[in-house]
């Protein structure tokens, strides 16, 4: 039969030589490799206490952005939902009423906005599709949960703190305490 790769090796079925039959040298060789690792740099970290720095392009949990005045940027245009390959994003739009100008940036806004984190594959296409700079993938993991219902993220979970009224919360969320 033709080999699929050039890397395959035939199994050596010759009887063991005297050196090999002694076993002890091979055992000692293996032990020395194991022992040698004690003096090498530890590659693991103690996760919850220590964290690794994220890559600047890391795609974690989503956030819904606000502008400098604390108004929601999302206009429920549906481009994130149509770009989403996992169909994780759903929304319902509403019209801004008079008096709500300080809440929403444009005349249309997302009254409901949900991301199903069970479906989400964190590909970041929603972020790329957004014409309003409204959705970003942050540098946080989705926290684990025992129940499925904890993974339906609504607007209250996704929106960033208001930079005007909750400035300290926002700074904390950005990690600049």
């Amino acid at each position: 039969m033709q080999n699929l790769t050039h890397r395959s090796k035939d199994v050596d079925r010759r009887p063991l030589s005297l050196w090999e039959k002694m076993y002890i040298p091979s055992v000692a060789k293996g032990m020395s490799i194991t022992f040698g690792h004690m003096f090498k740099k530890v590659p693991t970290i103690r996760y919850p206490e220590e964290t690794r720095p994220f890559s600047p392009v890391f795609r974690g949990l989503h956030v819904l952005n606000r502008d400098e005045e604390g108004r929601e940027r999302c206009t429920a245009c549906g481009l994130c939902a149509v770009a989403c390959p996992a169909e994780a994003i759903t929304m319902e739009a509403a019209e801004r009423k008079a008096g709500e100008e300080n809440l929403y940036r444009e005349e249309k806004y997302a009254a409901r906005y949900e991301i199903n984190m069970l479906r989400c594959i964190f590909c970041g296409l929603c972020e790329e599709a957004c014409p309003k700079d409204a959705i970003y993938l942050s540098e946080t993991f989705a926290p684990s949960n025992y129940a499925r219902k904890g993974f339906i993220y609504g607007k209250e979970d996704l929106l960033i703190p208001d930079p005007k009224t909750q400035a300290s919360d926002l700074a904390a969320a950005k990690g600049q305490e």
Partner: protein
């Protein structure tokens, strides 16, 4: 005339024979495909339309068999009739491509580019036009003209900022209804579609201005901000209507009819009926009949696969059958979570499509009593 002589006209090296009096645009549409110039203001179903937007400019490289001189300037193909032996260049002419890019830039000068909030997005001719024929940037650096949004009657919303002044709606109101009540006020940069002295339009067929509008200037208030067109599923349906033909397209999301429009052909124009008349629909069909029970469903509407509306709609799809029940000897799989128990979106007890106008914050506030 017993035997009508046909004119031979060559458009982008494709020869076709058409009756005298046909415009270049209509001859090109008979060939179809990329040869047909785009048209923003011309509407074959409306008399007198065309000649305003200049997107259909073509180069006539040979006037006719008898007078083979080329026409000195680019001509508007919707208003120029064919001559025998005429040779026309559309996409094969660099002048045309360049001029059209300029026209698109011109049309977009005052356009607010608010596609994310515009209900027309996804089926907007200006979007298609600028995508296919426009340039990426604009050189305009001044304030765009703005208007207040305006209600034309109780069903139609006018966003004058988005208007490109194609006059299609004016012709529709003029020709479909016996009393014209809206038109264009002022001139030049200040020109705007308006009903004089806030006069509301209450004609049975005035809803058709929504269908003829190539941009999102005239939109359906009953559909306003309810959903995006590409999440809806278009279905052909008809009903026995005393005032109109009753031939419509219903736009479904789940079991809800979100909007009703006339059926549009590949040029974005309302289709003709077998007897040659145009299938305009009346306001009752368009705005009031939003229950499946009102309609006889004919089948899914065919949408060009290049349109965003056809996303997620698969034709001839073979769905694999459910095997879990078979394997488990008839036992149903256990539902781990009912999405409605957690999700706030698309709740079974709220029918967005039944709210009259656009939804507001009250409609989503669980503390307030429901209006209906």
């Amino acid at each position: 005339m017993s035997e009508q002589q046909l004119f031979k006209v060559t458009i982008d090296n494709i020869t076709i024979e058409v009756a005298p009096g046909t415009s270049i645009l209509e001859a090109a549409r008979k060939i179809g495909g990329d040869v047909a110039p785009p048209a923003m203001c011309f509407y074959s179903k409306l008399k007198g339309s065309g000649g305003k937007c200049r997107t259909c400019l073509v180069e006539v490289s040979k006037g006719s068999e008898k007078d083979p001189r080329p026409m000195p300037k680019l001509v508007a193909s919707c208003r120029t009739t064919v001559m025998d032996g005429m040779e026309v260049k559309n996409i094969t002419s660099e002048r045309v491509v360049d001029a059209r890019a300029g026209v698109v830039e011109m049309l977009l000068i005052n356009h607010p580019l608010d596609c994310p909030i515009c209900d027309q997005a996804g089926e907007c001719h200006l979007q298609d036009l600028s995508y296919e024929h426009g340039r990426e940037g604009t050189r305009y650096e001044f304030q765009r003209r703005t208007f207040e949004k305006h209600d034309l009657g109780e069903y139609i919303q006018l966003h004058m900022t988005r208007c490109i002044l194609c006059y299609r709606c004016v012709f529709t109101a003029d020709q479909l209804t016996n009393k014209r009540e809206h038109g264009i006020l002022s001139r030049g940069d200040h020109a705007e579609i308006a009903t004089y002295i806030e006069k509301s339009l209450d004609n049975d067929f005035i809803g058709n201005v929504i269908d003829v509008c190539p941009v999102g200037a005239l939109t359906d208030r009953t559909f306003r901000f309810k959903n995006r067109v590409w999440f809806l599923k278009p279905v052909d349906a008809h009903r026995d209507c005393p005032t109109c033909s009753g031939q419509v397209t219903l736009w479904y999301r789940g079991d809800e009819v979100f909007r009703v429009t006339a059926r549009k052909d590949e040029w974005g124009e309302v289709e003709s009926l077998p007897d040659g008349t145009t299938a305009w629909i009346c306001n009752t069909c368009r705005f009031d009949k939003k229950h499946t029970g009102d309609w006889v469903i004919e089948g899914p509407r065919k949408i060009s696969r290049h349109s965003v509306i056809s996303q997620g709609h698969y034709v001839g799809m073979h769905k694999p059958e459910e095997t879990i029940e078979k394997v488990l000897h008839g036992r149903k799989p256990r539902l781990m979570m009912d999405i409605h128990s957690v999700s706030q979106v698309n709740q079974p007890n709220i029918d967005l499509s039944q709210i009259e106008g656009p939804a507001h914050s009250d409609d989503f506030n669980p503390a307030l009593p429901k209006k209906d």
